[in-house]
């Protein structure tokens, strides 16, 4: 990599960056769909499985109902915490991502090890103009989630450029 590219990359991305607030909306919609499915299954089991109405089953039903309440709280509170904590940084050497709701993760991927970069968009993200960037190494995939499409494309372009200049440097 020449000095100029390296300096630009460093200058542009020295600090951690945050996600767009739209990520919360995407998560709320996804969570809403998942919760609706889980709730429907729970209610169907409650109404149509005869053993679920027997007195002996009440502790299990109570536990399941408590689980449903906890899941609802997680789905309501989670996106805000996720948004507040999510940070990512791309320098000339590494991709650095910090995120998590209950369990916090710090992911470090040396650019040297990146094999492939791709942009992926699910239906909800597509609707909101968001995308994920999947960074594939020989040891697994790291993802930067809920980026605006332009930002995702820029990151892919920048990573591809960094990888190519690194490969050119090796030659």
């Amino acid at each position: 990599m020449n000095m100029e590219t390296s300096e630009i990359a460093d200058a542009e991305t020295e600090d951690y960056r945050r996600l767009n607030r739209k990520c919360m909306l995407s998560m709320y919609i996804n969570n809403g769909i998942v919760y609706a499915v889980v709730l429907t299954v729970f209610l169907l089991l409650l109404n149509f499985v005869p053993t679920a109405r027997e007195p002996g089953a009440s502790p299990i039903i109570m536990l399941a109902a408590a689980g449903m309440v906890l899941l609802l709280i997680y789905f309501v509170v989670g996106p805000r915490i996720y948004y507040d904590r999510y940070r990512y940084m791309i320098t000339a050497d590494k991709v650095d991502v910090r995120y998590g709701i209950i369990i916090l993760r710090h992911i470090l991927v040396p650019i040297e090890r990146v094999h492939q970069v791709e942009v992926s968009r699910g239906p909800v993200n597509n609707m909101l103009g968001l995308a994920n960037v999947n960074i594939t190494t020989a040891g697994g995939v790291a993802t930067i989630s809920y980026l605006e499409i332009d930002e995702a494309e820029k990151i892919v372009e920048r990573l591809t450029e960094l990888i190519n200049s690194m490969l050119r440097g090796r030659e």
Binding site: R105, H106, G139, M166
Partner: protein, 488 residues
């Protein structure tokens, strides 16, 4: 050799036909079952056999291999054309396998693997030739790949000679401890049941003893026998920068790989092998796939051997993975996290088992006679107490065993409760580092790390115990520093 190249040995027509025919017969048997009469099934099988023979004959006739100066080219000119070029520079290992059919026909299978996470467990090319010709080809390819010839194990002086007893001990004691305990339980149960039948205490039931014996075979005997057959006649040798392995009773394996292809070394022992003071050594190598599925396993470079032998083997075979270690045990914060987790898990289990235990006590009181009858009502509380004890044991062992060490070029994680392993890894092979902190770990200021690297099965991740965040973040920092140093 014609201009088009070499044809493989025609035995592959028979081998492929048998393999596909068996798969087809299984499918026909399970899908059609009793709805077809035997005559139709026999007719279908005969027709399938003819079609398969013609298909594989044509595939054999139109498949050619060329061994060039710089690469191997495998070309298939059938309807689905294929031309695969494997440069010698990309080859990670070149191995020989001999199955039963190969032995009967005097052939060997030459397996060529490249260093790739994709398709890691299968060889890039599996080429069957006459045995002597395959040996010669392997030597030729070896000269291209390793600049070295294959050693003859009869001529070289081996660091350690593994005896048949070593193979048997390895087979018996390398089975994971939990699996061994379950297997031993079923064996004991079958003996007790047989005794009760013999003394007339109970009637011979419909297969109670047999089911226990079957479970014993599945959990313990079969894996042990499989290991014994697979590692029979185990030989290991290092020549230059290449490690050569040879083993196998029914199918023989001749494997070789360069030291530079090793991503990590694992020194492993199970609870029972530890009692015998024996450990084995595995190498995490990419590109040693075999089409019989053994590519799913990491190559062993030492069977279970005494701890002193293991140390000398590490010194002789992989000195690149030896360094002055300054290990660190888990800090006080980790102790608190593990104890709190243990208490919460125990409380949850006790709470979950309280009501069923009460029901079991009411239902089983007065049932049975003797010791069994007296213990039966308390079976669930006893099981719960055993689980809680197991949790306490795992917490205490985890505190004692788990270690981390970050050297200059290598780093080490020591893990395990019953089965333990010490993984020595090279920073230069790390693909990705995750540092993870749960709510409890955050409260007590500790983290765990997960290191991702290429492995013989594609990818693998190795987790650490709970240590200070700075200590674990240092792994990622050193990976970055070394990558930057290499770049410049």
């Amino acid at each position: 050799m014609s201009e088009q190249g070499l044809r493989l040995h025609p035995i592959i027509i028979v081998e492929n036909t048998i393999r596909t025919a068996i798969a087809l017969l299984i499918i026909i048997f399970f899908t059609a079952g009793e709805s077809l009469d035997m005559l139709i099934i026999a007719g279908l099988a005969a027709a399938a056999l003819v079609v398969l023979l013609v298909f594989y004959y044509r595939q054999w006739k139109l498949t050619f291999v060329r061994f060039g100066e710089t690469d191997i080219v495998v070309e298939r000119k059938t309807l689905f054309k294929l031309k695969k070029t494997i440069p010698y520079s990309r080859i990670a290992s070149v191995n020989l396998n001999r199955g039963v059919l190969n032995r009967l026909s005097g052939t060997s299978k030459l397996l060529v693997n490249i260093n790739s996470g994709y398709n890691a467990i299968k060889p890039e090319a599996s080429l069957t030739f006459e045995q002597h010709f395959a040996d010669r080809l392997r030597n030729d390819i070896s000269r291209h790949v390793y600049s070295d010839e294959m050693p003859s194990f009869e001529e070289v002086e081996q660091v350690v000679r593994f005896t048949t007893m070593d193979v048997i001990l390895h087979g018996l004691f390398s089975v994971p401890t939990q699996q061994s305990i379950i297997g031993a339980f079923f064996l004991l149960n079958s003996i007790v049941e047989q005794y009760r039948v013999a003394v007339g205490e109970v009637d011979a039931g419909p297969g109670g003893v047999l089911i226990s014996l079957l479970m014993f075979f599945i959990f313990l005997a079969l894996p042990a026998i499989r290991h014994m057959i697979y590692y029979y006649g185990f030989k290991v040798h290092r020549q230059g920068d290449t490690i050569f392995l040879e083993h196998g009773l029914i199918r023989t394996y001749k494997t070789s790989f360069r030291i530079s292809r090793i991503n990590a070394i694992r020194v492993k022992n199970t609870l029972f092998s530890r009692l015998l003071r024996r450990s084995s050594i595995e190498a995490e190598v990419v590109g040693i796939g075999s089409d019989d599925g053994s590519g799913n396993t990491r190559p062993l470079i030492s069977l279970l051997a005494s701890d002193t032998t293991t140390q000398s083997l590490l010194q002789e075979l992989v000195p690149e993975f030896i360094y002055e270690r300054q290990t660190e045990k888990q800090p006080a914060g980790a102790r608190r996290v593990l104890v709190v987790k243990g208490i919460v898990a125990s409380a949850a289990i006790i709470a979950a088992m309280a009501y069923p235990s009460l029901l079991a006590y009411r239902g089983l009181s007065g049932e049975g006679s003797g010791i069994v009858g007296a213990l039966l009502p308390y079976a669930l509380p006893i099981v719960t107490a055993l689980v809680v004890l197991a949790i306490a044991y795992s917490v205490s062992v985890s505190l004692r065993v788990r270690e981390v060490d970050t050297g200059e070029e290598l780093f080490t994680f020591v893990n395990g409760i019953l089965d333990r392993e010490m993984v020595i890894m090279s920073y230069d092979r790390v693909q990705m580092v995750h540092v993870v902190r749960g709510p409890l770990a955050r409260h007590f200021d500790v983290s765990s790390a997960k290191v991702f690297m290429l492995s013989s099965t594609g990818t693998s991740s190795i987790s650490s115990g709970l240590f200070s965040e700075e200590r674990l973040e240092r792994i990622g920092d050193i990976v970055m520093e070394r990558a930057a140093a290499m770049k410049h």
